[in-house]
Symmetry: C2
Subunit: 325 residues, 2 copies
Amino acid sequence: MATVPTINDIETAAKRIGSYVHRTPVLTSRAINRMCDAALYFKCENFQRVGAFKIRGATNAVFSLRDDEACTGVATHSSGNHAAALALAARWKGIHAHVVMPDNAPRVKIDAVRGYGAEIVFCEPTLEAREATLAEVVAKTGATVIHPYNDLRVIAGQGTATLELISDVADLEAILAPVGGGGLLSGTAIAAAALSPRTRVFGCEPEGADDARRSFESGSWVPSVSPDTIADGLLTSLGDLTFPIILRHVAGIITVDDEGIAHAMRLVWERMKIVIEPSAAVPLAALMKHRSAVRGRRVGILLSGGNVELDRLPWVVESFAKAED
Amino acid sequence: MATVPTINDIETAAKRIGSYVHRTPVLTSRAINRMCDAALYFKCENFQRVGAFKIRGATNAVFSLRDDEACTGVATHSSGNHAAALALAARWKGIHAHVVMPDNAPRVKIDAVRGYGAEIVFCEPTLEAREATLAEVVAKTGATVIHPYNDLRVIAGQGTATLELISDVADLEAILAPVGGGGLLSGTAIAAAALSPRTRVFGCEPEGADDARRSFESGSWVPSVSPDTIADGLLTSLGDLTFPIILRHVAGIITVDDEGIAHAMRLVWERMKIVIEPSAAVPLAALMKHRSAVRGRRVGILLSGGNVELDRLPWVVESFAKAED
């Protein structure tokens, strides 16, 4: 079995999921273009079903299952967008979804997963507890585990966003995607390499969770240890499927600090009037940090999602903290 | 001279401003439709140039000036979206704009007006000071005053949003617009009465600034006295041009409290992933308050703007206040 999805897999995924997920719009901002002296094209996966690109990979995985696999349902551990995505994809397919979530997961995410009809199994907020709990669930139910990123069907599904972006916007000189586990970045890189080989793909990562940069620069896998960043979708380490794809097809990994991420997030809210989550702001933050390198260029940016805890916005916490000084 | 704009004036305005302003999208939300058991069509003027519908009226007014009027520039007093709109419209036309603003106006609005090249004259935050200062500016410069809503050209310009909405969405049973001074509501009512006479138009207003409801119900003009609401775009009283149009063409005025406004605003942010200002949330709040009346109906909602102070969100202040209890 292949360990790298091909452009055919991505095109097949696009057909498979096309009637379920949105073809999201590509937006531009006069004001941000002026600030960056570049032409930026924002692929708005914040408007995607469940509020994030994750529904693409989850739907492709669920609708790729053989009947004998599907009948026992699917399972995953995730505190984030993948959990909601898998829950909804399973509902579309009419099968059970079991989601292992840490008991400190944000209320809004628990509600979303439950709202889509998945069964939630809570565990302690450690990777060990999550994996042990997931193993128990699988042993009991026979469910098929759909990993949030280290899965060929998921990677192919995530690549469909870039398929659409490239078809909507010609001659992009670069595409910037956030990188956590690397599902979106590797799908993006495969799609761009096949369809627009002159487009350079960059992964964008918080400094406080820079395992992808360290893995990429050293050429050997480095895990994410005690990650600390407001970009809560990007805490995970690369997988053994995503890392080789990234090494082969990605031009570089750019890191940015949380202040830069919060600034970019706020800029998108203020100027584009759209809600994006911190992880989705990482590519714009990276671009603004290296403004001179993009001057005059056409750049695609994957706005990965829009699921934010509206009570806990980075700049509000900051302004209250300042007021207390 | 006519004291009521006609549908012809609105159609002429649409042609006059068409190459300057955006034709904004109409968005829908599966989740909000489900919650309201209705089909809601949101006209997204938060994506409009300057972040609000106000650019429509201001541009129509500025580009309606005779040459001898235009050469001495335009002036207004406004702390809000009309100020930025008039500044930008004047820049497009290549004429001066003088904007009288209270010295406690939000920084983001001052920056916007200045960024569009207008000259700002600050005054004390009272209506008297604003009007006196504006009179001085006009005496000195000979500028033409463009009132934010009590102006036939402005009313006709605001009506173009509904022209687009009706052309994009057939068979609306109702259209809900926020009402402050009544420019948007009266333009909406004229457009709907002419183009879709079965569509009932409702004005939606904060309880803390309910002069339109009281004027409408009593049939005689009642001023807005000490208005108090988070919907800071809706503090003003109806004008002597807008009130008769509203009396004639509007089906009713619905009021909502600030809690309902904050809830509706948050709902739009969370579910639609778009940023709207409190004033823009008033129609959805009104609809949710009278949910049984809209069951199964097709309703258009004018999301009037997206200019929010992101440091001062109603629900964040609320949650901090609660934490202090």
